[in-house]
């Protein structure tokens, strides 16, 4: 494959995987038939690159194969799914996307689907049918999805990047290193929880606090008395992977490689014992909200990571019959496939009748788009509260979904830790 007998793109991909594997210190590559990555060129820098350098083969060669030479893009060998993008073509007007960019996106989608890549266009492929099984070797990008499939599903992936995911799609190979190996997956830190974790927001606070301390190590949580559902674990992982670099965790009695504390740690001894109680919860809340001070809320963003249909249903229960304030805005983000379901269930209509929008494919951090004149946002995602001030230079309040819907309706932030 490396010598070029299977075509120049395969040779470039193998060259990259070998350089990458050697950098890691991996001994070999392993086969994978489950890759999630990004190929499109919808962010501003990549749009410029595609326009100047000759289209999607040039983008794939540079940003998915790290190849200076433009090579023809072959079809994928591994089952491959596309992650979130920079725009939602159905809401180009609200997002401020120029028509020529929408045209570029459509051409890009044509390119990607002809390669054989699934146009899931979401940070949550596990919500729309790509649900790896325990032990499955994967090569995924997207930190919130990586931590989910490693921890909750017991699948095996490292945090891949755009280039390595592209190379894995067309070769079906990834370095055999890190989370592909048993030894790497055992816990490092014991986290004892003795405060109730009531809702999705609480799980985000816990994740943010843990990630900040353990960074990229592997926390083992004890004291979780009620099994969290998908929405809670999705938010927990997204939070822990943004404040730190957590790619795997164990919850004793809940996640598949942690039936007991002993199983979670394997041969390791905890390097540290941490305690998460009411004081730690308050501290995490204060840290996340430290950059926000103006209570006039211009924009409420929900759906980071992309909302499940259950979360859309919950938001609609809070929103139905109310109106978004004239000086505020409500955008909710979900995978494309779930938006179809929301259309069918009448949720899109409820959100639009209230004056909000149900969008897909992107989010404000990816698109760098917010309603015009936004200075202050409110979000129910710790991850989005972490990134929006850095990326867009706006203030961001973090609170529960109910507090965010209230902020959209009143135009004011009145949230606070219970």
């Amino acid at each position: 494959m490396l010598e070029g007998r299977e075509g120049p793109a395969i040779a470039r991909a193998m060259d990259l995987l070998v350089r990458y594997g050697e950098a890691l210190g991996a001994e070999r590559l392993v086969d994978t038939n489950n890759v999630c990555g990004t190929i499109g060129a919808t962010t501003p820098l990549l749009r410029d690159f595609a326009a100047k350098r000759g289209g999607f083969d040039a983008v794939f060669s540079e940003f998915n194969l790290d190849s200076d030479e433009v090579v023809p893009t072959p079809k994928v060998r591994a089952y491959s799914c596309h992650l979130q993008l920079g725009i939602d073509p159905l809401h180009a007007e609200q997002l401020g996307t120029a028509p020529e960019v929408v045209t570029l996106l459509r051409r890009g989608e044509d390119f990607v689907s002809k390669m054989g890549v699934q146009l899931m266009n979401t940070c949550t492929p596990y919500l729309v049918g790509n649900i790896p099984v325990k032990g499955e070797h994967c090569a995924w990008m997207e930190s919130s999805a990586i931590i989910y499939i490693n921890s909750v599903l017991g699948a095996r992936t490292n945090a891949e990047g755009r280039e390595s995911a592209g190379a894995s799609m067309i070769t079906g190979k990834t370095p055999y290193w890190g989370y592909h190996l048993d030894d790497y997956r055992y816990g490092t830190h014991l986290v004892e929880i003795d405060t109730p974790l009531e809702d999705i927001a609480d799980w985000g606070l816990l994740g943010y606090w843990i990630g900040d301390i353990v960074q990229d190590r592997i926390p083992v949580l004890t004291g979780v008395t009620r099994a969290p559902n998908l929405g809670k674990l999705k938010h927990f992982g997204a939070a822990a992977s943004s404040s730190g670099g957590v790619e795997m965790y164990h919850i004793v009695g809940v996640t598949p490689e942690a039936r007991t504390v002993e199983e979670a740690f394997g041969p390791r001894k905890p390097v540290e014992r941490l305690h998460f109680g009411a004081a730690e919860r308050r501290a995490a809340y204060a840290t996340i909200n430290a950059m926000a001070h103006d209570t006039k809320v211009d924009y409420v963003m929900l759906g980071c990571p992309h909302y499940s249909i259950e979360q859309i249903w919950e938001a609609c229960r809070l929103l139905e019959g109310r109106k978004v304030h004239a000086e505020s805005n409500l955008w909710i983000f979900t995978p494309r496939a779930i938006r179809h379901l929301a259309d069918q269930n009448g949720y899109t209509r409820i959100i639009e009748e209230a004056g909000g929008f149900l969008m897909s494919d992107t989010c404000s951090a990816m698109s760098r788009a917010t309603p015009k004149g936004t200075r202050v946002a409110a979000v129910d995602s710790v991850k989005q509260a972490h990134y929006l001030p850095s990326i867009l230079g706006i203030q961001a309040w973090f609170g529960t979904t109910a507090e965010c819907i209230d902020a959209a309706v009143t135009g004011r932030w009145s949230g606070g830790l219970r």
């Binding site: 950098a23 945090a159 943004s242 670099g245």
Partner: protein
């Protein structure tokens, strides 16, 4: 003038030299840097507002989004990448990021580069040999 030698393991080969920029905070790629200028933008980062363009970046390792490599890749294309990277914690984010940045990179040192190197020191990096020569600033 004091010169100190560090020995580590090659991540990316090649030779480069430049002024050191040292941080004990891990660095985020996507959402953590502006690839157009090489500036760190994470509001809570100790180097927020400073650019690593042309510097020898000395840091513990990578954190955050899996968009890490693509941001450093873009920084290379805009001419804003670091001259070299020296770090302690090996992860896939930093391995791939260093590979596509194509700047010499070394890890696995015999002494902690965060203890030995200070911002402003002059640093020569031989990625292939894994050798780093530090000239302390006067």
């Amino acid at each position: 003038m004091t010169t100190i030698m560090l020995r580590g393991r090659k991540v990316v080969g090649g030779k480069a030299e430049g002024e050191a920029m040292v941080t004990r905070d891990r660095i985020s790629g996507w959402g953590g840097i502006d690839a157009r200028t090489g500036t760190i933008i994470e509001t809570r980062h100790e180097l927020c507002g400073q650019s690593f363009k042309g510097k020898v970046l000395v840091f513990p390792g990578a954190k955050g989004s899996s968009g890490w490599s693509s941001q450093f890749h873009l920084a290379r294309l805009t001419g804003s990448a670091p001259a070299a990277m020296l770090f302690n914690e090996m992860t896939t984010k930093i391995a791939l990021g260093a590979v596509v940045t194509r700047a010499p990179a070394v890890t696995g040192f015999d002494r902690d580069p965060l203890e030995v190197i200070e911002t402003g020191d002059w640093v020569r990096v031989d990625g292939d040999q894994g050798i780093v020569e530090v000239t302390k600033k006067a």
